[in-house]
């Protein structure tokens, strides 16, 4: 594949597909066992925010250290210093040692340095998932700005919405191979096909070893058989687990469409289940999900949310195009909700 100046390319694929390896090769952190790659221009990669920061140094000193580490020259850092400090929003602490910073302040400053790199090719790996929601929004805007400036951006992400919004083109990797390369919506669709055939139920998070998702049933049948449902029927979704957790926890079921988390359901709140197997059941009223491909995310957490497990792309449920007078075929959004409306004539 070839990417030219001013292009923003998303890199999608499941865990272990080779997204990070590709980015690491292009950033020259690791080298390919075979094959070649060429980059033309200054490459900056943000595989992690805040690497190389030293806790004993002040914020300003760290900006110099991190900036030069990311390939800026001393005058370039100096020129951008005010901008970097202003973007981070921690002006009053800039001459304080970083060890006294809160983790939020640290991330803000670190991202701020990264965002002000004078670079031709920017390589990003999920770094946008830092800081609070406000700062994330600011970060995404900054990336969009970099894109508008005509820089080439390579962006690996699990977030389909971010890829869809930021990247015109995307590549799909699967088990180290290039599966698809083309317009983002098209590539994302192929990725959804892949999720629904591969069925990777493994979890991430602190509890990933302690709980196993055995299967997902839709209306009493395994999702493997019953992958496509009518929008008119009531949906009963059973999640079958085995586990060895002693702490109470709840299980969540989230529905994603176009990369947006549309809604999340919880099972019985924080009840100790004992060790062994259990099934969590969720009922979604008829005519709620509108036609389309819904990505099912399964997770769970304890009461204080410091222990959790998560699978953002456990499976795909297809809601078929089945239209009737009560279920119109125009784009009315992603879901139907119970609401009332009336018209009063003056």
């Amino acid at each position: 594949m070839r990417s030219t100046k001013g292009e923003t390319v998303g890199i999608i694929g499941g865990n272990g597909a080779g997204k990070s390896t590709l980015l690491r090769i292009l950033s020259r952190i690791t080298y390919p066992s075979s094959g070649r790659a060429w980059t033309n221009g200054r490459v900056s990669s943000l595989l992690e925010v805040g690497t190389g920061f030293h806790y004993e140094l002040t914020g300003r000193e760290n900006v110099y250290l991190n900036g030069t580490l990311l390939g800026m020259t001393a005058p370039e850092v100096k020129k951008r210093m005010d901008e970097i400090i202003a973007f981070s929003g921690i002006e009053s602490f800039i001459d304080t040692q970083v060890k006294h910073y809160s983790s939020g302040m640290f991330v803000r400053l670190a991202f701020s340095v990264s965002a002000h790199l004078n670079t031709d090719i920017l390589i990003l790996d999920e770094v946008l998932a830092v800081g609070d929601a406000g700062f994330q929004q600011k970060s995404l805007e900054k990336v969009a700005e970099v894109v508008r400036e005509g820089k080439t951006v390579l962006f690996a992400s699990h977030s389909m919405s971010a890829v869809r919004n930021l990247c015109q083109k995307s590549i799909l990797l699967h088990q180290g191979k290039l599966m698809a390369y083309g317009d983002s919506p098209h590539t994302i669709n192929q990725y959804l096909d892949l999720i629904s055939t591969s069925r990777d139920y493994r979890f991430s998070g602190p509890w990933k070893e302690n709980i196993t998702l055995k299967g997902i049933d839709v209306n009493g049948h395994d999702i493997k058989i019953n992958q496509a449902v009518s929008p008119l029927e009531k949906l009963t979704i059973d999640l079958h687990f085995t586990h060895e957790l002693t702490e109470p926890f709840r299980v969540t079921l989230s529905f994603y469409c176009d990369g947006y988390r549309c809604f999340t359901l919880h099972d019985t709140c924080f009840e100790a289940t004992g060790s062994g197997g259990f099934t969590s059941t969720y009922v979604i009223p008829a005519e709620t999900l509108r036609p389309g491909r819904w990505v099912i995310a399964v997770g769970g957490h304890n009461a204080v949310m410091n222990q959790w497990f998560w699978n953002e792309q456990a499976d795909v449920l297809e809601v078929m195009e089945h239209y009737s007078p009560s279920f119109e075929k125009i784009n009315l959004g992603l879901i139907n909700i119970q609401a009332q409306s009336q018209r009063k004539i003056h």
């Binding site: 952190i29 075979s34 060429w38 980059t39 990669s45 690497t51 190389g52 004993e56 250290l65 030069t68």
Partner: protein, 279 residues
Amino acid sequence: MQEQNDDKSRLTQILPPGKFQFIDFNEVYRYRALLVQLAYKDFKVRYVQTYLGGLWAIINPLISMLLLYFVFGRLAKVDTLGIPAGVFVMSGLVIWTFYSTLLPEAGNSIVSSHQMIKKIYFPRILLPAYKAINALVDTAVAMIILLMMMLFLGLPISHRLFYLPLPLGVMLISGAGMGFLVAALAVNFRDFQHILPHVIRLGIFICPVAYPASLVPDAYAAFYFVNPVAGITEVFRWCLFDDYILSPNIWISMVSSFILFIAGLTYFSRTEKTMADLL
């Protein structure tokens, strides 16, 4: 315009590690600011955070000097060619301090920066290189102590002091070469980290720190000067002390210094690409 011209030279080819690519000096030059920042960071962390701060830079060589003076000057009564034993030992320590500070730090430089190496690309050679800059600070402090001792004792300083950049330059080259070598070795063979301290402890006896090289029997002299530190220490003393006689074999040290530098660079280039995978 200038930036555009600069960009044209930035077509980078990324090849499998089997294909040998020598260190890209242009790129190292572009990253020069990082060298300064890294050196500053280490300097600050090392001295600014301790109670006695910069004083440690003075206390450390003084303690070494007193120990060596006591063992070699007082107990063993080594012939120091008419130079007061304390001054003689200190002159050896100026050079020795550079290597003994640099080598453990350089050996650890890649391994301890594994987080940076796994996440960001930058010329890896800067890591052992900046340790050499920091070791120069210690050498400079030891040098000042030596000159103060000589002034205090009323010893004449030779007019050959102007030749001083020569041994110090060769010291920097050989030290950097050794630094590159140990840094890469420590990545390839983790056991090397345990061997290195013993080599350095032994080094203070193998090198003419507390005794003159003229003490070495003529039969072994040529072999003795294969060690670059031996020749450099002797030339350094020759620059300071008027009556100091140089062995005709010191050229061996000069040659081996350059060989070490080239060997260090080559071995480091060879290892550089696989570093992130080995750490």
